[in-house]
């Protein structure tokens, strides 16, 4: 553009920028545009207060390349979304979600859709600005007084002096032949700069630098060790207005937050007098028989098998051999503090009293936590019963079984 060459430092007699014609109606500027187009001019433009239908055709403006750019951007967005999800879901962060394949297209479609739209939308805006030579900080027409009405009720046509066909006299004659309301010569702008304001550039640079700070902090945190606890932006869960167990409570005289039951009272269902059933004790030692409340029948065995499957197999394994999934995983990770779960089919456990087994389940042993609070008393006995069956099955010989079950006759 011709105004690129102007020198704002040395104001002097300004060169001719172009000729500006003013029209009263959209129809007039359409007709004028067709004439200028047919006369073969190339560096000219029209300025109207609103979009005039048909002006592109009248000016001979070619179809824009923008749709192809947007299409390309949309397809890149699609490809980016597929690549991103394929890489994260199958390599970087494998996570099994409700048994679905790691890379499953239906779950990825929303991201594919969003990135397609995002890339296409942003590209449409940026490419439109670039194709229109925007932003344009100054233009010689800014100094033409009548041009202010181009945002109100007048239609303007400007032919630049830089056009190869431009000749001040003949171009003026051509413009006057299009029935304009006025024709005016426009001088070059020697006053203002067509460069972006420095403050804007600095502002953008500073904002960009600031915008990288969170990423820099995140990157630093990934490679640094810190002894201070994490920053919790939302403290709701950290400070709850309540007294926790084992804390002091000034409301009561004894200062305990956890209250004891009143003296000589027992809560409903908390009276556990039956030592056999509730603690597995009998005559001062471990009970060697099941308490009468436990019915030795199929239903109890089924219940025991089910509870065992839920609570015991993760560590002790399906067969009780101490090879559950948790144990296997811990071995794989070679955790130094890991104590392998006990093989429940060992001889000393086969001979252990049922009362003691019950007690172990209820109160835990070594690394094994207490399951008393989680499993109902009758269910714990059912587990003991199932465990006995497991132990017996493990110790049995194949000899004497019918061939169909793998025995030898």
């Amino acid at each position: 553009m011709s105004h690129d060459e102007k020198t704002p430092e040395t104001p002097g007699p300004a060169a001719l920028h172009g000729l500006l014609a003013e029209y009263d109606t959209p129809g007039a500027i359409l007709a004028a545009s067709q004439k200028i187009r047919d006369a073969g001019y190339s560096r000219w433009d029209t300025f109207t207060p609103f979009p005039v239908h048909g002006i592109d055709k009248a000016m001979g403006i070619k179809m824009t390349v923008l749709p192809w750019i947007v299409l390309g951007a949309g397809l890149s967005g699609l490809a980016t979304a597929i690549a991103l999800q394929w890489w994260t879901n199958t390599f970087d962060y494998k996570w099994l979600i409700s048994g679905k394949p790691f890379f499953s297209i239906p779950a990825n479609v929303p991201i594919m859709f969003e990135l397609t739209v995002l890339f296409a939308g942003i590209t449409a805006l940026v490419a439109m600005l670039v194709l229109n030579n925007l932003p344009l900080p100054s233009h010689p027409l800014d100094f033409v007084r009548r041009f202010a009405r181009s945002t109100d009720d007048r239609f303007f046509l400007l032919i630049e002096a830089a056009d190869p066909k431009f000749d001040e006299d003949s171009t003026k004659a051509l413009l006057e032949g299009t029935h304009p309301a006025a024709v005016e010569a426009v001088k070059e702008d020697n006053v203002t700069s067509n460069k972006l304001p420095k403050i804007l550039i600095y502002g953008v640079v500073i904002m960009t630098v600031i915008a990288t700070v969170p990423f820099a902090l995140a990157a630093k945190a990934r490679h640094a060790v810190s002894k201070s606890s994490r920053i919790h932006a939302v403290q709701d869960m950290d400070s709850q207005p309540k007294y926790k167990a084992q804390r002091a409570n000034p409301v009561y005289k004894d200062g305990r937050a956890t209250r004891l039951p009143d003296e000589n009272t027992v809560a409903v269902g908390e009276l556990k007098e039956d030592a056999h059933f509730f603690r597995g004790k009998m005559n001062g030692g471990w009970a060697r028989t099941f308490p009468p409340q436990v019915r030795l029948e199929d239903a109890t065995m089924k219940r025991g098998q089910e509870r065992f499957g839920i609570y015991c197999t993760p560590c002790h394994g399906e067969g009780g051999e101490g090879n559950g999934m948790v144990a296997k995983r811990a071995e794989e990770l070679q955790q130094g503090t890991w104590v392998p779960p006990t093989n429940l089919t060992q001889d000393y456990l086969r001979q252990m009293a049922v009362g003691e087994l019950f007690n172990t389940i209820s109160n835990g042993v070594r690394n094994m936590p207490a399951y008393g609070p989680q499993i109902a008393t009758a269910d714990r006995w059912a587990i003991v019963m199932y465990l006995r069956a497991l132990q017996r099955g493990h110790a049995s010989k194949t000899a004497g079984l019918p061939p169909a079950t793998g025995g030898t006759n």
Binding site: K62, M63, V65, P67, A107, V109, P110, F113
Partner: protein
Amino acid sequence: MATAKKSSKGKGGSDKKDEAPRSAESKPSSKARVDDAALQTLVPGFSDNVRLGGEGSALFVKAAGVAVISLGIAGAMGASVGDDFRRFSHSYLVAFAVGLAVSAGFLYWVTLQHLVNSHWSVVLRRIAEVFAANAPVLFVLSLPIVLPVLGGQGLIYDWADHAKVEADHLLHHKAPYLNPTFFAIRIVFYFGFWTLLSRYYLKGSLRLDETGGAEIIPSMRRVAGPAMILFALTLTFAAVDFLMSVDAHWFSTIFGVYFFASCVICVHAVLTLSLIWLQGKGRLAKSVTVEHYHDVGKMLFAFTVFWAYVGFSQFMLIWYANVPEETAWFKERFAHGWGDVSWALLFGHFVFPFFGLLSRHIKRNKKTLAFFAVWMLAMVYLDMYWLVMPNVNETPDFHLMDAFNVLGILSALVAGAAQRAKGINLLPTKDPRLARSLAFENI
């Protein structure tokens, strides 16, 4: 690219020149007050042939004949299958659903143009009005579905069969809504409302032709708001009643919107084909320009995307949650060959037309736009087939009666539209917005 655009524009221009003189050939109808062949002055300095006249009568006779014969043949074929019309009923429901999408879609479109005070579409509105006025025709066509239900026959719908309802807890639970009497009452209400609304807009528009009084336009716009809400409700419930209740165990809250997408696709496809037929007969040759085709094409494109969006929303939630009572419906549609139909829908109903209709050159060319209009109608048919048919056929099997059914129903709609259009102007000649519609340009 620039040269491609110029050549397509050149074609558009030459088309218009070819069509203009042909209008003199058509014969005047005895009933019509105005000479059919007369070029009507629309706005100062602009005139066009806007009367269908004899061509309309001829089209009515042809289309009505095709409709009666096709449905007759389809019925005979249905009887020959020997399953008490079970297969035929499903085939008929598929065709009926396409007809419903066309008819209800046009009513939506007319209401929408009034609601938003649209200017560009004024030249197209009359065609939409006569198609929308087919609601009573469609009601008659719904009788082969509704009457067996009233008779307690579960040809399509298990919930219509008393014995099946008693044996099925879920059907029993849903019986307060899904029962023959209430179903019939609802159908009468839907078609009653659609008939009244379409009559209102057609009559108002015709009165505008006579008096030119613009004061009726704001009142039509005021009606459009509440009418649109009621339309949305009736269409949703109609889709649930006719189509979703085919498998009464299954449910999807987005189903009404899914069917609505098909309605809007049908509108713009049928509108395109009607305009091309009319312009081929020299009617509206100058009024409707490539700019109007372009906009209709844009809407066709937009709603193929909308269909995919809604269809996928329905699928993904069910797929992700993986709840048996919902997935059963999709499981049927991904087994025994129906999976191929599902994939065909994905590519034929979305991927292909999406890229096909993306370019403006295709939307501004009558031939390519007509191809996609026909293609999309076929895809809507396939969609309806996919919704209904797994209920009766474990594997997709095409029977010739399917083709006769859809030909019959669509011909009946064309006949109804032609009958209405033959004696009236093909565009609202005195609508004050007409001048802007005639001069409409996209850029």
